[in-house]
Symmetry: C2
Subunit: 649 residues, 2 copies
């Protein structure tokens, strides 16, 4: 097994970029020092930002017309690798170039690009992204900050009407940012036109708050303390008319509003959609952090011994225990799956948001990208939280020490499940998109067809289920096509049932909230099933593209472990709905156990496949690797009484 | 609903003690300041230890002959409430009085009690508990530190033979402890007699390390940074013969070893068993921390609004969403269940380890206590980790800020799943005890009976299952007896199957490790099923003792939610083994959803029932409670387009 070939496959399309980053950053030990005070950590990250800007890497995502390289996918591929080091730098860079720079690029027009893009790329202009408010985090459409146009002076007046409308948790606001992209309700001629973004200077050149801007500090956080999150309150702050990022909506000097998109909600979601890169980047960062945690825990488990084999008397390497394999190996397989799903996401994003000749502007593909990004971000960040936790526990007390890096990974990534979109809310978005597509396909039937559909629905489901039962008896659990069929069936079955449950909400006078709320768990399950299926598809496609025979054979087993673990996690559903018999779901479990045993000898190879430079994972916990051959470190204690088994029977 | 009556029921037998603690500590805002450096935090906790000693509370667990009160249960009931404040103080106090003091009391004899107990109670003598080694955490029986008896000088020579035998993660070692209870292999006359504890001075009066003792610092940790964890290495450190804590094993001046327990393994487990209080205390601390997290998250969810009801236009309180209820209310019910199981554990411990006339010395009850403590510690600390995580996420970005207390709770309690016994290892202990009891009951049959047992086993299981099927059709899912029956059946079924799978390991020449390892997941499931059942039993008994009608009616629903959530979590198993039909498990899920709705109006009352003093939960996140009636904080945004539902169909 050639680890280099594995890594090349894992790296995928942007392998060269990733190798560059390994070279550039691998020598720097960009790890957070856990003893730093908040201020020291912020200063360190601010310095690192200057170094990062000097590499020129952040420029590359921007429009070539202004000195960028238009390599949107490559930059995110590089960006997510920052999570191998200090995640505060990842988030700080994400705010500056991804969110602030991204808003400037995507929501602004030439006048903004011309004036600010170069300084944003170089870091000479530090920006922040002032969207979230204390009272509105998930429901961004109902933000309450206002930007009211004053025809007399041709200015917008930015106002925080109440404490709930205070901008909150804004990265960069507490210390470094000079300018904010402020999201506010645009009001002109007495009418509200919905949320738009405005460039608002918040600090002068000396770093003092601008008149009318009150800045406060969010203080210490669970993690990411190198990022200066703060709060902004605006007291009638005046900015020129041109401060409006006017790509999707503009105001004439006389105050007349115009937009290429008439519907306010559609306009809002179109604007938000252009910012999808932030979500993709968070998913990528979560993936890298998970890879690092697994690299540490698996390498430790690969040499750590505990409890003697009662027959040989030799102490057993902990990764040889089934329970330990169960903790780490399915999580490793899923981390691989999500990595390939992320690679696929980068390619789709690059195709849609790039600047090159291959770039495609397709509204339907853009919507699909947003749905995928939302789903993969939610599933991937929850996976990160659970897996890093499992890795910490798998390393026992040593995993709790800061010197062994896992605590910082855990603390820093924790917020990923709720920022850039709360995961629960994101999965609802996914389900709603699926529902509206489903609705469209039903809507395409004529009226008679619709009636048949409504009446015959239950019958159809039963017919489908009988088919399923037949198939289930024939399908081979270890057949990839059959596994994929199970996941696709679950998705379709859940979606059809959900649409049926929600249909009454369309009736006039219906208790829409009640109907919707009663099905909320069903809705979330549907979204989850969808994401599970697309992740398996992305992994499958990557495996099928793999030409190296050994790498492919290994990845096929990883894919199988991931897919079966996904099925096992929801095995109750498959039995409840007649897709698997009880005997079959037990076979799923025993197959997973067998696969864990098969992959166990390759565990080290698989984490090496992520290619994390050694300085980024080096920690005292792995000292044991050097001593693994030294019997004095953890020698066999002599057979003794087989305490493990003695109690049995 | 009288909250006071609820709290009295929750407090149980030690209600008066708990009220005392609320009074004593409720006024002190003993919350960790997240901006403290490690050294500042350690100093603060050291000060708090002095104050805590001054309350006289820690004394009370000790032998009345030396100034204690012998109120073992009451002290632990009080102790676990420290987790409402700074968990570093809880752990530091646990090391001093629970582990060091506990070892002194339980493993020492009069000469040790006479000399050290008073100073230990007062804190004049600060001790640490040096058991864990770098190379041996879970497998304590194979520790490698040696204590070799030197007849010539009548001393023990304490030695760390290699780096793996270094004492590691020892609370108190890095800064404050003057003496260590060192666990080491006792060697005399060239023979090893197994692990014993020795009192070894590690620092002189000025705080300098004693000759031959090398002390180092574990440094920053994920949490609990007010506790000074350190490492100890011994270079031929000599202590007098009397330093041996000699209750279960002694060495004559001439070096002859004697013990009231011949079997070395049995002796070892008897000694460890006396230290069960540490495990019970950790379970209790985890419970309090969980209660605090839920108090914050539920009170926030009770006033926080997000997204408008599409019909009324009013923003919905987030705890009205089914998904939010699902995140928090079953966890709240389980927290109640574990609290009552913990109360039961305290009463059992008090009965066995107290000093009063009602104290019972029963080996079988002691073993049962140890098994329960191991199981409840494992299940309770995992529940804490998962629930505090869910609470953090349920509070969004605000939950990530240190000022809102959840990050510290999360970071501090994280290690609970692996210290005082790694949870996975503890569940294995539980399962092994169950197996050996099961083996004894099978062993009680005569030879012919055994043969019949072996042959008829499969038949018996089938007969039992047919009975189950009959019962399942009759049982009412909302009937408490039926729910309990399901949990008991699962436990018995798993245990019988496990015994059958492991029986081949008893054959001569069998691959014991291989057989055991292949069934490790089954083993862990069995232990989990046992703990689930005893927790439900303890909660049920508490409910049945409740006389206040309203309180009882409320707790009955909480019990039902907990029990059904436990069944739901393993519903695949119940279907796979024929105990529930697919239709029934779906009914379990819909019943839980209904119960969440029924309990939702009582959520605030239920968290108030924990009786956490207000200063311990007061944080900016709960400012919204004061403003909940103020429409300016988070007003209805006007109906607008029903975005939540618009996408449907």
């Amino acid at each position: 097994m050639n680890t280099h070939h594995l890594r090349t496959t894992v790296d995928g399309r942007w392998a060269a970029v990733r190798d560059d980053v390994r070279e550039q950053m691998g020598e720097l030990k960009l790890l957070p020092d856990p003893d730093l005070s908040t201020e020291e950590h912020r200063a360190l990250v601010a310095d690192a930002m200057v170094k990062l800007a000097a590499t020129g890497r952040p420029h590359e995502a921007f429009d070539p017309a202004y000195g960028g390289a238009g390599d949107v996918g490559g930059v995110v591929a590089a960006f997510q690798m920052l999570a191998y080091g200090d995640l505060s730098l990842l988030v700080k860079a994400g705010v500056q170039w991804g969110l602030f720079g991204g808003a400037l690029q995507a929501l602004g027009t030439e006048r903004h690009h011309e004036r600010y893009l170069r300084d944003t790329m170089s870091g000479a202009l530090q920006g922040c992204f002032a969207m979230t408010e204390t009272g509105h985090g998930s429901d961004v459409q109902h933000l309450r900050t206002t930007a009211t146009y004053d025809e007399a002076t041709r200015e917008f007046v930015i106002t925080t009407p109440d404490l709930g409308a205070r901008k909150d948790y804004i990265g960069g606001a507490a210390r470094d940012a000079r300018m904010a992209a402020v999201f506010a309700q645009l009001v002109t001629k007495g009418e509200t036109q919905g949320v738009h973004a405005f460039l608002v200077p918040i600090r002068d050149d000396d770093g003092a708050a601008m008149p009318g801007v009150t800045i406060s500090d969010c203080g210490r956080k669970a993690g990411l303390n190198g990022v200066d999150n703060g709060r902004l309150v605006f007291h009638e702050v005046r900015v020129p008319r041109e401060a409006l990022l006017n790509r999707y909506g503009d105001v004439d000097p006389d105050g007349t509003y115009s937009s290429p998109i008439d519907n306010e909600t559609r306009r809002f979601f179109t604007m938000l959609g252009t910012l999808v890169r932030g979500r993709i980047s968070v998913a990528g960062g979560a993936g890298s952090a998970t890879q690092k945690a697994l690299t540490i825990a698996i390498r430790y488990g690969n040499v750590r011994r505990q409890f003697a084999d009662p027959v040989s008397g030799e102490e057993v390497v902990v990764l040889d225990y089934l329970a330990h394999q169960r903790k780490l190996l399915p999580a490793l397989a899923t981390t691989y799956a999500l990595h390939f799903a992320q690679n696929d996401l980068l390619a789709r994003m690059d195709r849609l948001q790039g600047f090159g000749p291959g770039t495609v502007r397709s509204e339907s593909e853009q919507r699909e990208l947003e749905t995928r990004a939302a789903g993969i971000k939610a599933v991937g960040t929850w996976h990160a939280t659970a897996t890093i936790q499992a890795c910490r526990e798998a390393c026992g007390g040593a995993g709790y020490l800061a010197e062994n890096l896992l605590p910082q990974l855990k603390a820093d990534t924790d917020v990923f499940t709720t920022f850039e979109g709360d995961n629960t809310v994101l999965l609802q978005l996914v389900a709603k998109t699926l529902l509206s597509e489903y609705g469209r396909s039903v809507g395409a039937l004529d009226t008679a067809g619709k009636a048949r559909f409504a009446v015959g629905f239950v019958g159809e489901v039963i017919a489908e289920r009988s088919g399923a039962r037949l198939l289930l008896r024939r399908g081979n659990l270890r057949d990839r096509g059959y596994q994929r069929w199970l996941l696709a069936e679950r998705e379709e079955h859940l979606l059809a049932g959900l649409a049926r449950r929600l249909r009454p909400a369309l009736r006039k006078g219906a208790d829409q909230f009640g109907i919707f709320n009663a099905a909320q768990d069903h809705l979330l399950e549907t979204a989850r099933a969808h994401v599970d299926r697309i992740v398996v598809d992305a992994f499958t496609e990557a495996v099928e593209r793999t030409t190296d025979r050994d790498v492919r054979a290994l990845l096929e087993r990883v894919l199988e472990l991931h897919t079966l673990a996904t099925i096992e996690a929801d095995r109750a559903w498959f039995v409840e709905h007649g897709y698997l018999t009880a005997a079959r779901t037990k076979a799923v479990t025993s197959t997973i156990n067998r696969l864990c045993g098969e992959l166990r000898p390759h565990a080290r190879t698989l984490v090496d496949g992520f290619g994390i430079p050694e300085p980024w994972v080096d920690c005292p916990l792995l000292d044991g690797e050097r001593n693994a051959a030294d019997p004095n470190t953890n020698p066999a204690p002599g057979a003794g009484e087989p305490a493990e088994i003695a109690a049995v029977g």
